[in-house]
Symmetry: C2
Subunit: 368 residues, 2 copies
């Protein structure tokens, strides 16, 4: 939750002095932005997008973003299964990259470990490789750093952190930012695979700390162990995104639904808002979290993807093609709403958790 | 020390079960290599080089590498000065990138913090920006992740980890690997700025743990506090490297002297060895470390750069141009040795710490 995707602008500072953090972030991005002119890396976008783009000349752009999997690694450690966390790491990056219209090309990983544990590293690599294959990228390099005085985990000696960087290509005249979104456009949501890689800190608090469940507890509403449910790897949306980008759809924006939940929609670079009046029923994990944690529906829709991992904003005529593209990758998709003329506002009609209407601005939902 | 630059092949596993780690590393790289065909990211080099290169078509290559600053962050934390650690982070990456002949273009950083501390983040950003300016790259994105259960440091709440990824461009027919190195070529060393970002774990052990010095201790041989000496930011060699690459020198290889010390020379992709018969007197920190830590000269030359941060392997006729290129950036450089016909072997004549001759293979020096 408390990650700051700087290439993403959002700063979900749960537990952090927000004003101070926001000021620091502004100072930090101001300073970093001063590196843009003068160097060889001619930056095309501002901070705040899912990824940035470098002008390589001749109309060609190099897209780049970096992200980690956060405290989901602690779930992997508790379960003792490291085979899929690498998929999450690739997914968190390539799913961001496609949101600027780029085709992901290659990936490098950074693994910081408390101690080098060969079996664990092999499993992490397996997940990275599977993720890369799903995304159609190579893993061209990486770093394993053993940092016993800096990394800790759920058990002594078992800690690790996992992050990566994805690079892709995009024609400069085909960068996607959502600038073309207009009221009346449709919002299509593509299914997630559970909570993906955001909100794990809150989920750990609810299930493990507050409720005292073990990681192997089988909760009836989940039909499987908590650990396996929370470990479900993040869906990778590259193939369907490239399919959409290749067709002549009126595709305005792609939005990876990460730490700010449906407020990720407000990252479209147009003065619009969103009405979500047809969200699908959320997977059981979200109702379980909300009920066992006493988390209000508004907060749930701010922290979690609620079953929708990627949104496409598209002219009405493109809705079926988007749903088809997802279906060809075995994923359900739904027309979940419409672009409105209320800038920065996300309205949810009859949210599927409680049935209430919600209206949100500035990353905060309230009941209507 | 115990970092594994996978794009670098080396695996300096101090304190790690080496055989097991090596086997895991082989399995890991085998698995990751299987992502190379079939995707969009057409990989040009194998693992083991300083960076990898992706074929972008039309003869253009994208170079990429990722690295962190390791436990040098703990020195920054102990001193309470975070203004230069970002320079190290940029340096560790761009200095690798130039070693494949690439011009660094852009950089993204990954900061994992135990707690978001705005003042600390601003100082880290300052260093990143200064490093980027020295390297002529933009900082186009980044991630700050608050991971209180995964990151720790020298003091409760103050921990952080810092890594990054650099991307550059290189013409495919101008990739530098050292494949052209031949016996008789010269080795030119360019000065380092102290211990840079490798061997800090050992340095902390010697000075802080074993000897019990405080970080503010002023050691007479250093003429300044231990903390400031160990924090000296890594030199960035981009400008002189680009200068060398631009000229029609017989430049065979550039070698960033990192965790394996002078065994980094053996990363040239040619069946050659090295005779270093004119190493410069090392900066005082290295003698201090060797003497106070009782570290043999061979180990010192394996772990540390000994005052030489970058080596250029160049035809004899190019020696002066390399020294000139360094001088224009205000750095001393010396003709330190010669390429030999002993594959994988590094000989040091009259090493400047003890005067002994050393001969090394497989990352281990022994007195002759």
């Amino acid at each position: 939750m408390a990650s700051q995707p700087r290439g993403a602008g959002a700063y979900d500072a749960a537990g952090v002095r927000v004003a101070e953090a926001d000021m620091a972030l502004a100072g930090l991005t101001d300073r970093l932005r001063r590196t843009w002119p003068g160097g060889r890396g001619n930056v095309v976008l501002d901070f705040g997008h899912y990824a940035n783009v470098i002008d390589l000349g001749g109309g060609r752009g190099l897209a780049i973003c970096t992200d980690g999997v956060g405290s989901k690694v602690l779930i992997a450690e508790l379960v003792g299964d490291y085979r899929t966390i690498g998929i999450d790491c690739v997914a968190m990056n390539v799913n961001d990259l496609i949101c600027v219209g780029a085709a992901p090309v290659t990936f490098v990983d950074y693994v910081a470990v408390e101690r080098v544990a060969p079996a664990m590293l092999l499993e992490i690599a397996e997940g990275l490789a599977v993720g890369a294959e799903r995304a159609g990228v190579s893993i061209s390099g990486g770093e394993i750093a053993e940092l016993p005085d800096m990394i800790r985990g759920a058990r002594p000696g078992g800690g690790f952190d996992l992050a990566g960087t994805a690079v892709g290509t995009v024609q400069l005249d085909r960068i996607l930012t959502g600038a073309g979104a207009i009221p009346g456009d449709a919002v299509v949501g593509i299914e997630s695979n559970g909570i993906h890689s955001n909100g794990l800190t809150l989920a750990r608090k609810v299930f493990l700390s507050d409720r005292g469940h073990g990681i192997d507890a089988i909760l009836p509403e989940l039909g499987q162990s908590l650990g396996l449910e929370l470990l479900r790897p993040t869906h990778i949306y590259v193939r369907e995104a490239l399919d959409m980008l290749d067709r002549a759809l009126d595709l305005r924006a792609l939005l990876h639904i990460t730490g700010d939940g449906f407020f990720n929609l407000t990252r479209v670079a147009a003065p619009v808002g969103f009405l979500l009046d047809a969200l699908p029923p959320p997977p059981p994990i979200f109702r379980s979290l909300a009920e066992r944690g006493g988390i209000p529906a508004g907060d749930m829709h701010t922290v979690y993807n609620m079953g929708v991992g990627l949104c496409a904003v598209v002219g009405e005529s493109g809705v079926d093609a988007v749903i088809d593209a997802a279906a060809r990758e075995g994923k359900a998709a739904w027309r979940i709403g419409t672009v409105t003329d209320e800038p920065g506002t996300v309205r949810i009609t009859a949210n599927p958790l409680t049935g209430d209407d919600l209206v949100g601005r500035d990353k905060r939902f309230a009941p209507v």
